[in-house]
């Protein structure tokens, strides 16, 4: 078999091994670890970039490698790298655990990479669990006053239950179709949704993915985990695992020959509820990360919107928005972890006077938040508009209307953050020093967010090609 097909995964396996060895060292030297991790992260980017154009199937067709999966793998590698860049101060994780932190970060990345290109139930399940378990461990890795373990245990419980439910659903699917290959199951959708067992199976199976995507009603872990986990971990959860989940959902529905009317309707309702709920609850949050958690719930609703169009345009929009979301969300988290150098949870007021303490960070914060709110000229805006467009093309008028209104609501709390950072001032807070690389990263991110917002053509074309490989 062609090694390149499995290249990224193999590479990260190697990386994981390295970190494992590092974690065995008696006396920890976080600096060195960080150097190595960064190097490996860059290498991972290179490898995934190299493997971008691979095509093929592995492991008895259980594992498909195509442009779609490779793009997402690249995105994941990017997220991995991003998280490493802001990991130079893992203040809240004890030094002897740094290596393990990297280790589990790598393993979860591997899990997600496998997730995006697995097309068989068992493979999906295993890779899903792989990614999840590493995260379960990462969350309570934080040195904290109890909320970390609480977040960890909640994450674990909800995750375990939903994955169990999913497994149960998968078993029904298996029973109903006698196969575990998506390629064989999904064409059978029509008669599947017409049989109770099929419906049940499908529904329960979706639970797992919804859990990853933190769609209502599987969103309960998000706020607690976002707040409880270390900033870097939260960043990874908020960026990488979202992307992976979107990819998986796309695979699921893209192969489908069309679900029943009522099924889609259910999805529509779920999407509406989660975007509305997320936005409304986010309004009253004090903790910045928690606020972002709710915004992520709302965004899950938006993703769903693109997915339920069941049309190419919708998938393109979803892919575009997933990539966009990865970048813009990271921009914001980057600001968080830069401002909260000591790794504490950032209250919104603590952003006070950021324009004075670090103009650049405040600028990227504004850009990132406006992008999340879908204000032009940013990829957030373009992506959202593409989503709406595709939804409207399918005649989901009310969905679009509600989505647009939700945009307004969301703007309110984003503006509150901007208000705090831009207008209020608190002399007690000193300036935030940022290193030159971070500076460059900032500029790069701003450039990406704005640039691809105004000229989205390249990305859209890419997404189009990717979606074509899936269909």
């Amino acid at each position: 078999m062609n090694v390149m097909l499995f290249g990224p995964e193999l590479y990260y396996l190697g990386a994981a091994l390295v970190f494992f060895l590092l974690s065995l060292k008696r006396k920890p030297e976080p600096k060195a670890d960080y150097q190595i991790a960064l190097a490996l992260g860059v290498g991972g980017l290179v490898v995934t970039a190299l493997c971008l154009c691979q095509q093929g199937e592995l492991f008895f067709k259980a594992y498909r490698v195509d442009l779609f999966s490779q793009i997402f793998k690249f995105a994941l590698a990017l997220a991995f790298f991003f998280v490493l860049t802001i990991s130079h101060n893992l203040a809240h994780i004890e030094e002897r655990y740094h290596a393990e932190f990297y280790l589990f970060l790598t393993t979860t990345t591997i899990g997600m990479m496998m997730l995006v290109s697995s097309v068989e139930l068992l493979t999906i399940y295993v890779s899903l669990e792989l990614s999840s378990y590493s995260l379960y461990i990462l969350v309570p890795l934080r040195r904290g006053d109890g909320i970390d373990v609480e977040a960890g245990i909640k994450y674990l419980l909800i995750g375990a239950v939903s994955s169990g439910v999913m497994l149960f659903g998968l078993s029904y699917l298996f029973g109903a179709t006698g196969s575990t290959y998506l390629t064989e199951i999904l064409p059978k959708m029509p008669q599947l949704v017409s049989s109770p067992i099929g419906v049940l199976g499908l529904l329960l199976a979706l639970a797992g993915f919804f859990f990853k995507l933190s769609v209502f009603p599987f969103h309960f872990w998000a706020p607690d985990v976002y707040q409880g986990a270390a900033n870097q971990v939260t960043t990874f959860i908020a960026t990488a695992s979202k992307a992976a989940a979107v990819a998986l959902m796309l695979r699921l529905v893209a192969l489908g020959a069309g679900y029943g009317y009522s099924f889609t309707k259910a999805l529509v309702i779920l999407s509406i509820v989660s975007m509305t709920l997320g936005n409304l609850v986010a309004i009253i949050q004090k903790d910045f990360k928690r606020l972002l958690a709710y915004s992520s719930i709302a965004h899950a609703g938006y993703f769903l919107m693109g997915i339920i169009t069941m049309k190419e345009a919708g998938y393109i929009a979803a892919v575009y928005y997933a990539l966009a979301y990865l970048v813009m969300n990271f921009t914001v988290f980057m600001v968080i972890s830069e401002v909260a150098k000591d790794g504490r949870d950032l209250k919104i007021q603590e952003l006070a006077g950021l324009w004075r303490r670090s103009p650049l960070l405040s600028l990227s914060l504004i850009v990132g938040l406006f992008a999340l709110a879908g204000v032009p000229p940013s990829i957030g805006f373009t992506g959202k508009l593409l989503l709406f467009t595709s939804a409207m093309n399918q005649g989901y008028f009310w969905l679009v209307l509600i989505g647009a209104v939700n945009g307004t609501i969301s703007l309110y709390y984003y503006l509150r953050v901007i208000y705090a950072s831009y207008f209020t001032d608190d002399p007690s807070l000193g300036p935030v020093a940022i290193s030159t690389p971070m500076r460059i990263l900032n500029y790069a991110l701003i450039a990406i967010v704005l640039g691809f917002g105004v000229f989205p053509d390249r990305i859209v074309e890419l997404a189009k090609a990717a979606v074509h490989t899936v269909l």
């Binding site: 379960y136 309570p140 373990v149 609480e150 375990a160 029973g175 006698g178 409880g228 928690r290």
Partner: protein
């Protein structure tokens, strides 16, 4: 035909197990108990797989393989869960879920 030579029997059994597991997850307060209930859910799933495999799968091996995988994964899950529970115990001096109610709103 014997009652335990029918698919339905096993399906109902699995369903029962699933229900029990779900109930346990929702009702029990001790983390360990909850963990056990989760395992029950998994087992329900594997019973399903076996049953379907036995009765109407074209390829006789698939279900068994899956079940094996499930066992392994469940083991891993248990390990992680237990380790976290230990951590919880260290921090909160209790493994009662009711004491882990810091984050809300």
């Amino acid at each position: 035909m014997l009652v335990f030579n029918q698919l339905e029997t096993y399906l109902y059994l699995a369903l029962l197990l699933f229900a029990i597991g779900l109930y346990g997850v929702l009702a029990r307060r001790s983390l360990i108990a909850i963990l056990i209930s989760v395992e029950l859910i998994l087992n329900a799933a594997s019973i399903n797989f076996m049953a379907f495999n036995r009765f109407l799968a074209p390829h006789p091996a698939v279900g068994q393989v899956i079940t094996l995988f499930i066992m392994a994964v469940a083991a891993a899950e248990a390990a992680i869960a237990l380790s976290i529970i230990v951590a919880v115990y260290r921090k909160l001096k209790s493994i009662n879920i009711e004491h882990a109610t810091e984050l809300r709103g």
